[in-house]
C-alpha cells in the first residue's frame, strides 16, 4: 500500500533548536516503531523533516511546500509566530496540523485543522496558579519570565490566572533570551518579598536563574511550569535545582510505566534523556495513528473531524503514553503532575486529574 506521507516542520536551528530537535527525535522514534510493527492501517509512515531556522518566513515556505507535496498531515512548527503563519497555509489546503506550540492564540483562531500536542498555556497556567495559591499559600508572586513569545505568553496567562485566584503579581521581571547574569532579576524578586517565585524561561536560563537564587540565598518556594524541573535543567543547575517545584504536563519522570519505558527507548536511540518536547513529538504521531484508525481510512477531512472530541486511552494505544482527549478547538486534556526536585531527581508530589475528569 501507499505510505502515509507527513511533513515535520521544526525549529532545528537557531533559538528554537533544542526544542525542535527533541520534537523531531520523538517523532522519528515513534515512526520507526510504528513502521516496524506494520504501520497504520497497513501503510507505512513516510516523514520529511524540515528546519524553519526559527524563522516564520521560512516556516511559511515550508508549509507551502508541504501543501504542494499534498501530505497527509503537518507537524510543527513550535514557535507561536511560525505556527500562526504556517497553519493558515495548511488550513487553506485542509491539512491537519499538529503543533508543540503552547501559545494560547494557536487554538483561538477557530482553525479546525490545528491540534496541540500538549497543554496550551491557557490550560496549564491556571493549574499552576491554583497550586501556588492553594497549596503554597501564595498571596503574592514574583514572576521571572523570558521575553520571547513563549515566555511572554506564559507570563500574561499566569498573571491573569493568579488574579482570578486572588493572588497578586508583585514583581514582573522580564529577562532576555540567552541571559547570562540573573543577579538583577533575582535581587528584584527577593526584594519584592513575594511568597512564591515563579520562573518561566527556557532551559539554560532556568538553570542560571536557579543557581543565582541559591547564591543569593533565596528561601521562598520556587515554582515553575514544565521547564523549570526538566531533566536538562537539573543537569545544568546541579544542586541549585533542589527544592524547585513545578506543574508539568509531560515528564519522562511521571510515575507512569509507559512513560518510563519510553524514556529508556529514547535514551537508547539518541543517547540522551528527552524533555517534554520529545514526548510531544512521540505521542503526537501515535495520536495521529489512533485518529486514522478510528476513521478507518486515510482521509484528511474525516480525520480532522474525528480528532474533535477524540479520546485515546493509553491502555489501547500505549504509544500515547497517557490517556489524552481533544476538544473541538484542538486543545488537549490529560493528567498532569506537581513535581519537586529532590536530590537531583524529579519527584511527583501530586497528580492532577484531567480537567474533564473533575
Amino acid at each position: 500500500a501507499d505510505a502515509i506521507r507527513i511533513t515535520s516542520i521544526q525549529e532545528l536551528s537557531g533559538t528554537g533548536a533544542t526544542a525542535g530537535t527533541n520534537f523531531k527525535n520523538g517523532m522519528a522514534l515513534a515512526i520507526k516503531e510504528i513502521n516496524a510493527s506494520g504501520g497504520v492501517l497497513g501503510q507505512k509512515i513516510d516523514v520529511t523533516f524540515a528546519d524553519t531556522q526559527s524563522n516564520p518566513g521560512v516556516a511559511k515556505g515550508l508549509a507551502q511546500k508541504a501543501v504542494d507535496d499534498d501530505v497527509f498531515a503537518v507537524f510543527g512548527p513550535g514557535f507561536s509566530g511560525s505556527i500562526l503563519v504556517s497553519m493558515s497555509e495548511t488550513r487553506r489546503a485542509k491539512i491537519p496540523n499538529f503543533t508543540g506550540g503552547e501559545a494560547a492564540s494557536v487554538t483561538l483562531q477557530g482553525n479546525p485543522y490545528v491540534f496541540r500536542t500538549s497543554f496550551g498555556q491557557q490550560t496549564s497556567m491556571p493549574k499552576a496558579a491554583r497550586y501556588m495559591v492553594q497549596n503554597l499559600k501564595a498571596k503574592t508572586v514574583a514572576v521571572i519570565y523570558v521575553n520571547n513569545d513563549f515566555g511572554k505568553g506564559g507570563r500574561d496567562m499566569i498573571t491573569k490566572s493568579l488574579e482570578i485566584m486572588g493572588a497578586k503579581v508583585v514583581a514582573d521581571i522580564s529577562t532576555d533570551p540567552g541571559k547570562l547574569d540573573f543577579s538583577a532579576p533575582v535581587l528584584q524578586a527577593k526584594q519584592s518579598n513575594a511568597d512564591v517565585i515563579f520562573v518561566y524561561t527556557n532551559e539554560e536560563e532556568a538553570a542560571r536563574c536557579l543557581r543565582e537564587l541559591k547564591k543569593q540565598g533565596v528561601t521562598k518556594p520556587i515554582f515553575g511550569e514544565t521547564v523549570l524541573t526538566g531533566q536538562k535543567v537539573i543537569e545544568l543547575a546541579g544542586d541549585a535545582a533542589n527544592g524547585a517545584q513545578a506543574h508539568i504536563g509531560l515528564s519522562v519522570d511521571a510515575p507512569v510505566p509507559t512513560m518510563r519505558a519510553f524514556r529508556a527507548r529514547f535514551e537508547k536511540a539518541f543517547g540522551y534523556i528527552p524533555d517534554h518536547n520529545g514526548i510531544k513529538g512521540y505521542t503526537s504521531v501515535y495520536v495521529m495513528k489512533a485518529g486514522i484508525e478510528k476513521v478507518g481510512k486515510v482521509d484528511r477531512a474525516a480525520f480532522a473531524k474525528a480528532m474533535q472530541g477524540l479520546s485515546v486511552s493509553a491502555a489501547k494505544h500505549p504509544g500515547v503514553l497517557m490517556d489524552v482527549s481533544y476538544n473541538d478547538k484542538g486543545d488537549l486534556d490529560r493528567e498532569s503532575f506537581i513535581v519537586e526536585v529532590r536530590n537531583g531527581k524529579q519527584e511527583v508530589k501530586e497528580v492532577l486529574p484531567a480537567l474533564s475528569k473533575k
Partner: protein, 328 residues
C-alpha cells in the same frame, strides 16, 4: 561588454517572468522571498558596495518598512499609503543614521550601525502597544493593485517582480550618473573626494538614506508576503546575513545583490537534502566561495577580463620594448 550585460539581463528577466507560473506555491514563494531580499540588498549595495559605508544595520530598515506597513494595514490603511510612508520614514531615519558615518568610519561605523539595529529591535520587541512585541503582528494581508487582487501568490509575485525591475532601473540610472562616480570616489578615498568639491556629507547621508529606503520597500513587501512579522527577522543576525549576501554576490557590482541573495535565500533551500547538515554545508560553501572569489561571484567576469587585458597590455609593452630596441 554592455551588450553582454544586456543579454544576461534579458535572459534573466525572461526567466523571472515566464518560469513562476509553472511553479507550485512553494516555488513561487521562494522566488518572491528571494526578490524581496534582492531589493533590500540593492540598497545595501549602494550604501556598502558603492559608497563604502560599512553598514551592519540594514535589517533595521527592513524592519521599519515592514512594521510601518503592517501597523498601518492593521489600522485599515491601504498598503499604497503605507508603502510611501515606509519609504519616507526609512529615508529620513537613514539620513539620521548617516550622521555617525560623518564622524566615524570602517569598523567603528559598522558597530555604530549594529548598535542602531539593536536599538530598533529593542523598540520592536518592547513597545507592545505599537508593534505587538514578541507576539508580532499577524494577518497583515496583501494589497490590491488598481482593483486587481494580489491575494494570490502568483499575482503578488508579479508585484514584487515589478517593484524589483523598477527599483533596479532607478538604481542603474543613479549609478551611471555622476552620483555613481561620487559614491565610488567616496568609498575609495574620502579625503581626496572632499578636496575635489564632492560633498562628502551629502553623499554619505544620501547613500544611507537611499539604501535605507530600498530596505524599507523590501520590508513592506516582506510583511505582506509572509503575512506575519515579529522582531526576530529584523535582528542583527539578518543584517549579518544581508552583508554576507552582498559580499558573496559582489559588492559594487550592479547585479551582485541578485546573485548574493540567491546564495543567501535559495542555496540553503536547495541544500536541504543534506538534512541536519545543510546549514553546516551552507557555511562551508560561503567560506569556499570567498576563497575562490574574494571580491564576490560577479568579479569572475572582471577577473577574466582583467587577465585578458593584462595579456594584451603585456604584448603591447613587449612590442614597444622591441621597438625601443636598445643596448642589449
Amino acid at each position: 561588454m554592455i551588450n553582454r550585460n544586456v543579454i544576461a539581463g534579458a535572459i534573466g528577466l525572461a526567466v523571472l517572468l515566464a518560469v513562476p507560473p509553472f511553479l507550485k506555491s512553494y516555488g513561487i514563494y521562494l522566488f518572491s522571498y528571494w526578490l524581496v531580499y534582492v531589493i533590500a540588498n540593492m540598497g545595501l549595495n549602494l550604501t556598502v558596495g558603492y559608497a563604502g559605508q560599512k553598514s551592519l544595520g540594514h535589517a533595521a530598515f527592513f524592519g521599519i518598512g515592514a512594521y510601518t506597513v503592517a501597523i498601518l494595514m492593521k489600522a485599515g490603511i491601504s498598503f499604497w499609503i503605507g508603502l510611501p510612508l515606509a519609504m519616507a520614514g526609512c529615508f529620513a531615519i537613514g539620513l539620521v543614521l548617516g550622521f555617525p558615518a560623518l564622524r566615524v568610519q570602517t569598523i567603528y561605523l559598522a558597530f555604530a550601525t549594529l548598535g542602531f539595529n539593536t536599538a530598533v529591535w529593542l523598540v520592536m520587541r518592547n513597545e507592545e502597544g505599537l508593534t505587538g512585541g514578541t507576539y508580532g503582528i499577524n494577518g497583515i494581508g496583501r494589497p490590491e493593485f488598481f482593483g486587481l487582487s494580489l491575494e494570490g501568490s502568483l499575482a503578488f509575485y508579479y508585484l514584487i517582480l515589478g517593484a524589483t525591475i523598477l527599483l533596479g532601473a532607478l538604481m542603474w540610472g543613479l549609478l551611471r550618473s555622476p552620483w555613481g562616480k561620487a559614491f565610488t570616489a567616496l568609498r575609495d578615498n574620502p579625503i581626496r573626494a572632499e578636496s575635489l568639491g564632492i560633498n562628502v556629507q551629502a553623499y554619505t547621508l544620501l547613500a544611507f538614506a537611499i539604501g535605507a529606503m530600498y530596505a524599507g520597500i523590501a520590508g513592506a513587501l516582506f510583511a505582506s508576503l509572509v503575512d506575519f512579522i515579529e522582531p526576530g527577522p529584523f535582528a542583527i543576525g539578518t543584517s549579518f546575513m544581508m552583508y554576507l549576501m552582498l559580499v558573496v554576490g559582489g559588492p559594487g557590482y550592479f547585479l551582485g545583490p541578485l546573485l548574493g541573495s540567491a546564495v543567501g535565500v535559495l542555496l540553503p533551500e536547495w541544500l536541504r537534502f543534506a538534512q541536519a547538515w545543510y546549514l553546516f554545508i551552507f557555511g562551508v560553501a560561503v567560506v569556499l566561495l570567498m576563497l575562490w572569489l574574494p571580491d564576490g561571484l560577479l568579479s569572475l567576469p572582471d577577473r577574466l577580463k582583467a587577465r585578458r587585458q593584462a595579456r594584451e597590455a603585456s604584448a603591447a609593452r613587449a612590442a614597444a620594448a622591441a621597438r625601443v630596441g636598445g643596448a642589449q
